[in-house]
Amino acid sequence: MSWIGRSLPRYEDPSLLMGRGTYVADLARNTASVKFVRSPVAAGRIVGMELPDGELVFTAADLVDVKPIRPILHRPDYIAVDQPILARDRVMFCGQALAMVVADDQGLAEDLAEQVFADVEADDAIVNFADALADGAGAVHAHAPGNVLVEGKMRSAGLDDAFAIAAEIVSLELRSGRQSAMPLEGRGGVARYDAVSGRVTLYASVQMPHMLRTGIADTLGMPEADLRVIAPDVGGGFGQKMSLFPEYVALVWLARHLKRDLSWIEDRRENFLASAHSRDQAFSVKGAFSKDGILLGIDADLKSNVGAFSCYPVTCGVEPLMALAELPGPYKVKEYGARSRGVTTNTCMMAPYRGVARPMLTLTMERMMDVAAKRLRLDPVEIRRRNLIDTFPHRSPTGLVYDEGSYQEAMEVAVNTLDVPAFRERQAAARAAGRYLGIGFSVFSERTGYGTPAYAARGMGIVPGYEIVTCAMDPSGSVEVRIGSSPHGQGLKTALAQLIADELGIAPSKIKIISGDTDATPYGWGTFASRSMVIAGGASKLAAGKVAVRLRSIAATMMDAKPEDIELEDDLARVIGTNQSLPIPDVARAAYHQSHRFPDAGPGLQDQAIYDPAGTFSNACHACIVEVDIETGGVVIERFVVAEDAGILINPMIVDGQIHGGVAQGVANALYEELIYDETGNLLTASLADYLPPTIAEMPNIEIEHLVTLSDATITKAKGVGEGGTIGAPAAIINAICDALAPFGVEIFEIPATPQRIRDLIRASERNDHG
């Protein structure tokens, strides 16, 4: 009886859903409060700071021995930039920390912060691509004139020929607004100073606790052993909690300097201003098509606004370099050329957010397919059929190798689920009655679970990827598994327990997954890039497998059988083909307390394993039906179908949850959320009154169809599934809106497609109709 494939309720639910967890703010009792004073302007020179007398107020002048954060990419086209912990002589974005104050509670700290006055001689802010890339533009960083911090290029030899023979060339200008990952719980840290050891324990709401420890220790010039980082329950991260932020460095510095317990709990305004942003991309893309709709080549100019600094450890290359490598997506195009730039501006730093680059890549390719289909008078599904990859392994024009998937099949499942012919009839009838329905498709690949080779290929100074897992069964027969990955609310512990349970023949409830504590877990990379189930899962399977080998050896000795004849199941070590068995706890106890009997196995039941895979591609097709109100530009999503293939599902309910949450953030990207800066670099959307995540009322019911392709790319045959919802949804929704508005000839190339933007396009079309 396997535990894999069962929708076990999550062990995390009492913490995540019932308010019984321990989040960072729950640990802030009896600590002094830290408040950061933030720059009110986007760019300028700090002329002076007025500070209240006799209070605990600190500026960059107090942090002279603290190094700036300087993420490294070993690429000739990368310019490293320094992010100071507190702004030194210049401010680089609105919201940058200028000073920090310490007081007994948050209210008093805010009072004190109001008494800090920074005299900043403001410069013209460089906010957007036009500002940053204009001839003669000023430089955000003096040593990076031109404002391009990273630039990747590639061009296949046959690209010009592909365009020369093309029957149709589709040229698109696409734009994605700036978005926040907006985890329910913002950032926050509690630093406790131990007067005896001089050690600091930092509780922080983060996705990469080991990396945070390394980053803080390097910046402060302290031994890592003097710092313990603990990620307690984390209320969502989605990438925003990966990076090393100055606030955490400052908090540890303060705790050591003041020898006090301190806390900083970010408020929502700070989260919007100064945590990390994402998206904000502008793509100019040309596609060369043959007359029968075969995509022959892509020529792309890709720009990503990376903000004022480069995020540590993944750097500001994360968006532009992924865009460069993955634009062709699920299509078997041969010729490819692209230039992809990371452009620095006086705005909040860009960092990874669920999907990284791919929501925009998918929007680009899927809009291209629909526009090409229209021009070539092909059905949008048919043009995809002709171009989707169907032989494996597939080698992309950028050198990526795709393992087995079900690109064609997933699309057909979505097409059948929505019954396209019946929809077209309904659509025609609705149009006759003045209602505008549309259907849209989005097919994509989701690169997941990739190890060190992928990151090394990017030239990263710090190369993440592997996971180390230790697994120990104790004398009572229960199991502790220590992982370097660090969940942020996705139910990883439950899924890992199911996987390990099958290796050891015990119930998942007897398996405890220990994560997020640098004192208690092996060095690891945390949770990001849809890696945890694949990589921490793979290492867990391997480590548990090694323990199972020991268990079988000991049980064999105890029952006078051969180890290969022992099976572990239902809490028993059984001799296959006999009725002879021992309870696994009896074997475990013997392993520790009678070890002299087992010279082959040796004492104890613990082992460790490492997993560092090349990576695997999940795939999916999103399809939806929308209705557009042409008078208001309002969009209602009537149906939303996800046909996806992530290989073996360890816990289908958790996979469905990942898809639901991802689609919600994709709906947000497509229709609702946008961070807006004015021309001076002032953020206009710094509260939830102006930044609009969709609520449950805006969410459609999501219909999920699972396909299961068994790929050898991972040892569990499970693929990552953390980001697909976010990647695929925007393109499906936008294509559906364009289909609905086909009578007006409206084509949308900018997201979010707010009612105002949709209405503007309809109004322009109405005006054209009237001459």
């Binding site: 509670d105 209210g107 008078e631 208001t632 206009l684 609009l692 609520t695 009612p755 105002q756």
Partner: protein, 284 residues
């Protein structure tokens, strides 16, 4: 995001609230539901030195019909309107509108009078008060006075309420037989502030409109009543063409405000749509 420090007094009843306002009102604010005030205080956009909490003043929490008006006490919560406040067209109208006010938990705390005092241009209750010609009863240490809606709203977040005043009661005229209402609001998400909304009440007798009120909200610094267009409806049979003309005229007559969610041009389009849809619903 913590408020600046303030002193806090809890009024036991109406008279106590008025006494506290006389003493502290110049530096103070009434705390009723707190759904706007507390958020503004947390952002430190509002910094009252004194809060006078009226949540214990049971004699301000009422909803009753008297002398042809619906009387709404200062502490009457939005949620009281979920069920019709009175059996006629007014109760139905209020119960239709209330579901557009924010979200269920907010409606359990926020108050009708608090909305009017706050005077957000996108407040549904401000639109109701303006369109129906509500009468505000304002009490202070110096006595009581009444103020019609037309003179009550002075602009965004600004009203005729002086520092020592309590908006003690709002009176809405009960609508008799033959009256019907339509309300249409467009907002980005369920529960958001409207980008434009319209409330229409029509009296239709023998197939002819004999009286009408048209209000538009969330498009300027206060809710607007379109009296010239109301007059154009009188004596006519309700029909789609007429309503489309009225809606187009409403659009032409208003130069709407702009913000990050809606340009003036977009709001103009929305005015036509919400007025037309409110008219259609009222006549349906």
């Amino acid at each position: 995001m913590k408020p600046a420090s303030f002193d806090y007094y809890r009024a036991a009843n109406r008279a106590d609230a008025i006494r506290l306002l006389a003493e502290y009102g110049d530096d103070g604010k009434i705390l009723a539901g707190g759904q706007s005030l507390v958020a503004a205080m947390n952002f430190r956009l509002a910094r009252p030195n004194v809060l006078i909490d009226i949540n214990d003043a049971a004699d301000l929490d009422y909803l009753r019909v008297e002398d042809g008006t619906l009387r709404i006490g200062a502490l009457t919560r939005h949620a009281r309107f979920h069920d019709p406040a009175e059996p006629g067209p007014l109760g139905a109208l209020l119960s239709k509108v209330v579901h557009h006010i924010a979200h269920y938990p907010i409606r359990q705390r926020g108050t009708f009078a608090g909305s009017l005092s706050h005077a957000d241009p996108a407040s549904e209750w401000c639109l109701v008060a303006t369109t129906l010609g509500a009468e505000m009863h304002i009490a202070s240490h110096d006595g009581e006075r009444t103020c019609p809606a037309a003179q009550f709203f002075k602009g965004t977040f600004t009203t005729a309420i002086e520092t020592q005043d309590l908006l003690a009661e709002i009176r809405l005229p009960v609508l008799g037989n033959g009256w019907r209402s339509g309300f249409h609001e467009f907002s980005r998400r369920a529960g958001d502030f409207a980008l434009a909304m319209s409330l229409v009440v029509l009296k239709i007798e023998d197939g002819v409109i004999t009286d009408a009120r048209i209000g538009v909200g969330a498009v300027s610094d206060r809710a607007l009543r379109l009296e010239t267009l109301e007059a154009e409806l009188i004596g006519k049979a309700p029909n789609e063409k007429l309503f489309a003309e009225i809606a187009a005229a409403a659009k032409a007559q208003i130069t709407p405000s702009a913000d990050i969610h809606a340009t003036s041009a977009f709001r103009s389009d929305l005015i036509r749509t919400v007025v037309k849809r409110a008219l259609m619903q009222a006549a349906a």
